[in-house]
Symmetry: C2
Subunit: 701 residues, 2 copies
């Protein structure tokens, strides 16, 4: 690996020469993969890979494997490759990044592999991706449906983990860390820098990139349209420095509850924080933790805090000066960028901003001026007061439908600008990232004096059309006299099950059958591939409510709300749990079920045999497997070579799914029952999908 190699800027999607574009992408891929591996060299030895930097996080080994398995899992999902490199790695390293209830971060559930094995695995992934970069069909400009897009997605995903892993590594106790000259640290001056307020005039802000015109990779939440009129406001000239922040610490800011929001007070209770996280108190003096060492306090570096600490500082300062300071909103930050004449990042030289891993620490807040405002981008991220949301026209990318949607929950605040550790899409002008308010990143803040109203009210009704459609299907009205399908399936499961300790609702969608099965079973796990769906069941469990939009005519909707009391599930909520998972590569800890229900699942799997060939191993003796499906095979879900039926074989004979199921399952199962079962999915008040699924009940031999 070339240690002197700088972090490259991301590639453009257009161009004149496909061959050249492949070379550019390969260079960018290697640069990304190399830097990611390089930052794990700060871990003193292989044993450290099994340590966690925080109790809520996986150990380091998880992240080391995760960015590589991401490529494979997405390539498999998009049917660009068919064969996994290591199914076990690609299941245990698959998920568990954000603090979601459906992310399983309990390490006891895993037996982690050796670091050397993961290194070898990463090399194999590198070779596979290299080969794909050379060979996948490529037309310029690269579009969202191009296989190359999936490779760019994998690269940009890894860029995010470079940024976040640098936080986790910086949080590791120094005893686990070794230094390396690669990880340069800036020095701070003794200058006294006084912050001041600069007036930003009224302006109109238009956000959202155009799918047809944008020539860089972008995440789903960056596309669409959003307009806002931003009234005149004042912004601080500089980011808040360690020096500016120490006044708050010394004034007892961490002890005065009135400065802290409810969420902030909870943070203080749990962490018992008394000062910013990378400040180290030694002999009553504050020192400062960089990535790999503790140094004298660089007073003119920006302070690293979470959003709750930043808000508390603003409240303290407001009270003291009797002027209302807040964090800027997303559009106010864009107004600052406009005032500052911020250039396209690709035109910005290294000397103009502290980002793109030019160095491995913050620098003084008076280093980088943008038309008189400092650090408009770079140095550290700047917390905003705006929870992330989707612009008009938002739609998730089919290969990664849970990149953004789970964060559209009012709990994830946008971070403006970028940090020294940001690269790739993270530093592009139009990119949008958000984190939970109590998370630590290389993030600080600037403050504003503003009377601008925040335009966006978070919509509490599920506006994701597909998820809403499923909510209506599982929690809405019956149509044409057809019984609720989730209830009917649960009845069949109850009738045919022999033991009732634990059940699995695989492909649980919005979770109705999971709850319903808990009337019969002691515990029920609901698993779905899409977090967009899993969230609904989780919300019902945690908040006791399902809210959705029921379609009327074209774009007209009725808002609907169903409570856990109305459903009669109050006493069942501790018996169910929801997880994200892939039925074709389920994690090993999902086992010992008395009943597995897979409703309308098999004809939507990318390789249904991967599920069927091993499902018996997850069932107890006398275990029951229940499949329901209308057998609507389609190439968009399942490559034709993996269809279980619905085609003619080489002799011209019809191959029917039920016959293939019998062939696959008969060795390990006895087919005890089949029946037709109707279901109706509402598309509008006048238009419905009316389907007759075949239910087959299989008893483990």
């Amino acid at each position: 690996m070339n240690l002197t190699k700088k972090s490259l800027y991301p590639v453009t999607l257009d161009g004149f020469d496909e061959k050249l574009k492949r070379e550019e992408i390969k260079a960018y891929f290697h640069n990304t993969f190399d830097i990611f591996e390089k930052i794990f060299e700060v871990l003193k030895n292989d044993d450290v890979f099994y340590q966690q930097s925080e109790i809520t996080r996986h150990p380091m080994i998880f992240y080391f494997g995760h960015t590589a398995t991401f490529f494979i899992n997405k390539l498999i999902l998009m049917k660009i490759i068919e064969k996994r490199i290591n199914p076990n790695f690609e299941s245990i390293f698959a998920i568990g990044v954000d603090e979601m209830t459906w992310d399983d971060t309990d390490s006891e559930n895993y037996s982690w592999p050796k670091v050397q094995e993961v290194r070898e695995y990463r090399d194999k992934v590198r070779a596979l991706v290299d080969n794909l970069i050379d060979t996948v069909p490529l037309t310029l400009p690269i579009k969202e449906d191009s296989p190359m897009w999936i490779i760019l997605m994998g690269i940009e995903h890894e860029r995010i983990h470079i940024e976040t892993s640098l936080v986790l590594h910086r949080q590791m106790p120094l005893e686990f860390i070794k230094d390396d000259t690669y990880f340069t640290v800036e020095t701070s001056s003794n200058k006294m820098i006084k912050n001041e307020m600069i007036t930003i005039p009224q302006t109109k802000i238009i956000l959202g990139v155009d799918k047809q015109k944008h020539n860089m990779y972008a995440w789903d939440n960056e596309y669409g349209n959003y307009e806002d009129e931003v009234g005149e406001f004042k912004t601080s000239k500089y980011l808040v420095s360690n020096r500016e922040f120490v006044e708050f610490v010394e004034a007892g800011g961490y002890e005065e509850k009135s400065y802290w929001s409810e969420e902030g007070q909870k943070f203080l209770e749990i962490t018992n924080a008394k000062h910013p996280p990378f400040w180290v108190k030694e002999n009553n003096l504050f020192k400062y933790r960089t990535l790999t060492k503790v140094i004298d306090m660089p007073w003119n570096f920006p302070v690293d805090v979470n959003a709750l600490e930043a808000e508390a500082f603003c409240n303290y300062k407001s009270k003291k000066e009797n002027v209302s300071y807040t964090l800027p909103s997303e559009v106010e930050h864009k107004a600052i960028c406009k005032y500052a004449n911020l250039k396209e990042i690709l035109d910005l030289s290294e000397a103009e901003a502290n980002q793109n891993l030019n160095t491995f620490s913050s620098c003084d807040i008076d280093t980088h001026s943008f038309n008189g405002i400092y650090d408009v981008v770079g140095n550290v991220w700047q917390w905003s007061r705006t929870p992330i949301f989707g612009f008009d026209g938002f739609e998730p990318h089919v290969a990664y439908d849970d990149f953004s949607t789970p964060t559209f929950d009012d709990k994830h605040a946008l971070i403006n600008g970028s940090s020294w550790a940001s690269s790739g899409n993270l530093i592009m002008n139009d990119s949008r990232y958000a984190f939970r308010r109590h998370f630590f990143q290389h993030a600080g803040f600037r403050y504003v004096i503003s009377t601008n109203k925040d335009k966006k009210d978070m919509d509490i009704y599920e506006s994701d059309a597909l998820v809403s459609q499923y909510c209506e299907f599982q929690y809405g009205d019956n149509h044409f006299g057809v019984e609720n399908f989730a209830l009917a399936c649960a009845k069949i499961a109850s009738k045919y099950s022999i033991n009732t300790t634990k059940a699995l609702d695989l492909g649980c969608a919005t979770g109705r059958a999971t709850f319903e099965l808990a009337k019969t079973f002691d515990s029920v796990e609901g698993i779905d591939f899409s977090v967009r769906f899993v969230q609904v069941g989780t919300n019902l469990q945690e908040k006791g409510v399902v809210t959705f939009q029921s379609p009327d005519e074209a774009e007209l909707f009725t808002n609907k709300k169903v409570t856990i009391e109305e459903l009669g599930y109050e006493n069942l909520k501790d018996k169910v749990s929801f997880w994200q998972g892939d039925a074709c590569n389920l994690k090993p800890n999902f086992h010992s079920y008395d009943m597995i229900l897979a409703t309308n699942l098999i004809d939507r799997l990318y390789q249904p045999r991967l599920f069927l060939d091993t499902v018996d191993q997850r069932l107890n003796d006398d275990g029951i497997l229940i499949l329901t499906s209308p057998y609507t095979w389609q190439e968009s879900s399942t490559k034709k070579e993996f269809w279980l039926g619905g085609y003619k074989d080489e002799n011209g004979n019809d191959v029917k799914t039920i016959d293939t199921l019998k062939t696959i399952l008969s060795e390990k199962f006895e087919l005890v029952h089949t029946q037709d079962l109707e279901f109706v999915i509402k598309e509008t008040k006048r238009k419905y999908q009316h389907t007759v699924s075949e239910v087959s009940v299989w008893k483990k031999k």
Copy 2:
């Protein structure tokens, strides 16, 4: 107009520079529009525009307007423009090119405009298209869903009419024609050229262009995959010349029925032909008609004949020599191209083939050698024995879904190669054109000695999935106890109609309601926008049968057949007629109805108000209008600004379709009845669309 301008080759779809591409396309558009107008200068004066060259064809004025209105009609359909230039022109010049029963070519139904008006109209279209070429969104490469594709479609459509109009003009009596030095004619030598047979070795032929890779505009029938193994065969070195053909004429070939197929004998009966069409008998000597004059017989020019004459010649020659001569198949012609090392046409110089309007006549058959075989392309088209069909993966382009499908009927034979009048896509290596066997083009033939079997059996079952789905909907089984929708609608029409002389089934699809209404009405006209659908009703009327594929599981189907006797419609077939038409711009001759039924139509129209605002004018006194619709508005059919409901107005109030219908229609109609009416469309044996349409019955005030 620059008369010296050569015919340009078509533009490629890819490129580096959008601005340059717009310029290329504009130059190609003007070149096409200019040449098309130039060839109408052979008509002696404006009066000649109202003459027909054949009784089955429209007068010249139709074609002169047609190629311009095609642009507008397609641009409207694809919602690239919203306002018509001249609704009347765009309706009367819209259709009537092929000899289809649903093409109305009866001139008494039209009052044709002045030539000068059409010239001015063409200028307006030219200006509009010019402006679009400058301004429509453009990303390279141009794809099928790009607005620029529709402009290329209009250009290539006009190129076809340059070729076919040159035939019509050549068929016009000389008294209507004036000469022009622009229309150069080649001269023929006196040389004796003896035809001989050349052996083409066995080879594998792969046909069909790849949608992702092909960088030229192509028609729907050129995409897809087709493979065939072609066994060794022999081909004639030269096209059949006038000299070679005269032997057949002099041997009484046109009188000897045994040489002629059934279709050929019918052709002889109707036309009383005694020799090729462009031979002129003067004083017992054969002379030769070129585009603008009669010249001494050029014995070494290829003969111009239709497929029936070409087949008869082969039969004559076979009998004489006791060797089986036939026309080549499509793949045999491709094997000849391969043997001849035929280059990409774009690399072919003017001197290498007689095509692209280098001149305006044939030339001697020994002029252009391709590795020892002459006129592999160019000079005149060469009839094949292969009826045109769709390759695997065929799908019609949404803007022109009846370009190819109506010709997949076993009655349209592919023509190989190209002629002196061919340009644009017509001369590309991968293009595929077909004509009825009795049609005249600038077409002749070469013969082969071959034992190759023709792979493709014409599938008599409707394999167009959407058309099959509608056949099942209208002629198939009932599901979930829901009555056949066409029958239920006809019952309602019968109940509410006051007079019963003439009815219109607008949006008739596969025609079931049209027939059913004929039980009540003396005559019923069925109109649909898509010829793919209209064909089904026509087939039932003419052949007494509807055949289709009813879907079972995924790609498995059951072939179904319904006869006119089973339907009980034998006595109704003379009461119905089917037409292609656009409900938003219906031709003026559709009027005087007692009842108009529009089932599931209004939410699929590009501008439904264009229909609703004037429908009263087509109804008699006491006329009844019946609408049925589930109001499933979608942007792909109707731009949102033209929706009649299903959205919120600027005040945030729900706009419902039924209310808008009342507003639009109440001035001229009384709403006499509304009801819900269910229908079920089968997608597979287990999956159905189950819809509840709203029926509204309106009586003309």
